[in-house]
């Protein structure tokens, strides 16, 4: 009897809820921590980025007007789905980071817990960031936080799953949609995460994941006039500065953390509030 042929997974992009190949037809070899070949990943081009921004913009009205309760439920659902695929993520994280199975397991658990943590914030962030303001006149004066819009994220190169979840969840929980440039070094868990997102009731286009070169794509994202926010967590100093300059043209909200982020620490609300606008309404009393 002949030996069974192995069936290998094709790692593609995640745009608008679908898994297309790069329009450029390019791919690159992804290696593990010890330099061994793992798989070929799509190398997205600026045109894939353009399509991803279009998909994110299209998804924004629906996602931002969903109730906070509903968004929280969907984030929680992502956590459930991730948990169900735990074994697959453990092996992918272990291969990518060269860590032991035990350590990889802890990282996957931490990613699941992080999603649950942010899911809980969905209907609480308004109370934290909103306010009823005393004014000298017969008005109710209310400030409420609203999502910024489409946020471009350069995901951290280290922490291919935990780091990635830690940058995506705070952006989408408040109603933003996003385009993520995954870790160039270890992109495979990001595409497996995309498979989780696609089966979690998350509307297509809310999260779009591109694999490839951040140095190639991030400047196009930073200059794009239809992107409203930019998270440069994964960009090196030179790239981050270039992106910040390009982002100034349409006054994007830019999040550029100082130094290295410790993902295991309590993240606080900073990543959520970085991509919120404040709307203040004056409402006459007695009408």
């Amino acid at each position: 009897m002949s030996e069974r042929l192995s069936v290998r997974k094709t790692y593609k992009l995640y745009i608008g809820g679908a898994f297309p190949r790069s329009e450029s037809g390019r791919s690159y070899a992804v290696t593990g921590a010890k330099g061994e070949f793992l798989a070929n990943a799509s190398k997205a081009s600026r045109k894939d980025l353009r399509e991803a921004v279009v998909a994110a913009r299209k998804a924004f009205p629906g996602w931002s007007s969903a109730t906070a309760y509903n968004r929280g439920q969907i984030l929680y659902r992502i956590a459930e789905m991730l948990e169900g695929r735990r074994a697959q993520f453990v092996s992918e994280v272990a291969e990518a980071d060269g860590v032991s199975g035990k350590k990889a397991g802890e990282l996957v658990d931490a990613a699941v817990d992080r999603l649950v943590w942010y899911a809980g914030w969905s209907d609480k962030i308004t109370s934290l960031r909103g306010s009823s303001n005393p004014v000298s006149g017969p008005y109710f004066n209310l400030s409420t936080p609203e999502p910024t819009g489409v946020v471009g994220i350069v995901a951290p190169p280290m922490g291919p799953l935990f780091g990635l979840v830690s940058v995506i969840a705070p952006v989408i929980v408040t109603g933003n949609t996003c385009v993520v440039i995954a870790s160039e070094r270890a992109p495979l868990p990001s595409i497996t995460l995309a498979e989780v997102l696609a089966t979690s009731d998350l509307p297509g286009g809310v999260v779009n994941i591109l694999t490839g070169s951040a140095a190639e794509m991030a400047p196009w994202m930073a200059g794009h006039m239809d992107v409203n926010g930019l998270d440069l967590t994964g960009a090196d100093a030179e790239l981050a500065q270039k992106c910040e300059e390009l982002a100034a043209e349409n006054l994007k909200r830019v999040l550029r953390p100082n130094g290295k982020t410790d993902w295991a620490a309590n993240p606080g609300t900073g990543r959520m509030t970085a991509f919120l606008e404040t709307k203040t309404v004056w409402h006459p009393i007695g009408i």
Binding site: R50, R57, G223, H224, M225, L246
Partner: protein, 306 residues
């Protein structure tokens, strides 16, 4: 050929060679794969902008909306003076005077739909007076609809005479004949209706009202472009083509231009002989143009809402 009886019209129209459906689809799809980049794209975008018939044909149209649209037609991108004006604005007859007032002597033409648009279901008397009203209000071009019911039931003479009557009512104004290809069912019918409209005196043949899907598909436009090319060769009169409806992106518009160049020829690549009936495509053309100018992707927040 003479068009004195329905039988002679029928004999002529049914004597036209049939359209190879698979061949037309394949050729249109093949021409749609041409890659137009950089400086050629820039030229194509400017040409497409100058061919747009900026259209608003809603029951909810107001005078204010028409004025805003006409201002946009004259200066599509107020931040960039190098952007050409569009070819024309297209409105309902009662708003022609309003449009005329705004476009003035800018060179932008005012087109008006008429003849009980979009269904064309009324008496000839009403259709003629509808046309005369629009012309009197200052329309340079009249977009009439044919009686599809008569056409489909084989009453070609009725359609022919109706087009002749409207043409007479147009006077100086150009007449565009809307075939509403989405209701004609076959490419053979599209070819026949094109010839019928041209024989009756139409200056332009137009695919659709924009109210019926499918509207201006590439293969239908291909069949109509072949018809105007052959009509010029046979009858010695040049007729224009206007695809309308469903053209939403710059890519769609450029595909149309490729189709014109490869089918009717470069002589038709002129706003006098080819128009794009659309509204939303203009913003996409402007965004693509801005991308070529500034080197960064443009966003819809920076262009007017239609």
């Amino acid at each position: 050929m003479t068009a004195s009886t329905n039988a002679s019209l029928r004999a002529f129209l049914h004597g036209l060679p049939g359209v190879d459906r698979v061949g037309a689809d394949a050729r249109a799809a093949m021409l749609g794969t041409r890659s137009i980049k950089t400086s050629a794209k820039r030229q194509a975008i400017d040409m497409a902008i100058s061919m747009v018939d900026l259209t608003t044909l809603e029951g909810a149209d107001t005078r204010g909306k028409v004025r805003a649209m006409c201002a946009k037609a004259v200066h599509p991108d107020p931040t960039d003076a190098t952007v050409p004006s569009v070819a024309a604005v297209c409105v309902y007859p009662d708003l022609v005077a309003e449009a005329r007032d705004v476009v003035g002597s800018s060179g932008v033409k005012v087109a008006s739909v008429a003849t009980a648009f979009p269904s064309g279901r009324s008496t000839l008397e009403v259709k003629v007076s509808d046309t005369a009203f629009a012309v009197a209000a200052g329309a340079d071009e009249i977009d009439m609809v044919i009686d599809r019911g008569a056409f489909l039931s084989g009453d070609y003479l009725k359609v022919f005479e109706e087009i002749q009557a409207i043409k007479a009512a147009c006077g100086e104004a150009h007449l565009k004949v809307i075939l509403e290809t989405g209701e004609l069912a076959t490419y053979d019918n599209v070819r026949r209706a094109s010839w019928l409209a041209m024989l009756a005196g139409g200056d332009f043949i137009k695919t659709s009202t924009g109210k019926i899907q499918p509207a201006a598909t590439l293969p239908v436009t291909l069949v109509m472009l072949e018809a105007v090319r052959d009509f010029l060769a046979l009858e010695g009169r040049k007729v224009g083509v206007k695809p309308a409806g469903g053209i939403k992106t710059t890519k769609d518009a450029i595909k149309m231009l490729v189709l014109v160049n490869e089918t009717a020829g470069p002589d038709w690549l002129d706003p006098d002989w080819f128009r794009l009936g659309a509204s939303s495509v203009l913003n996409d053309l402007l965004m693509q143009r801005q991308k070529l100018t500034t080197g960064r992707y443009a966003g819809p927040d920076y262009f007017t809402l239609d």
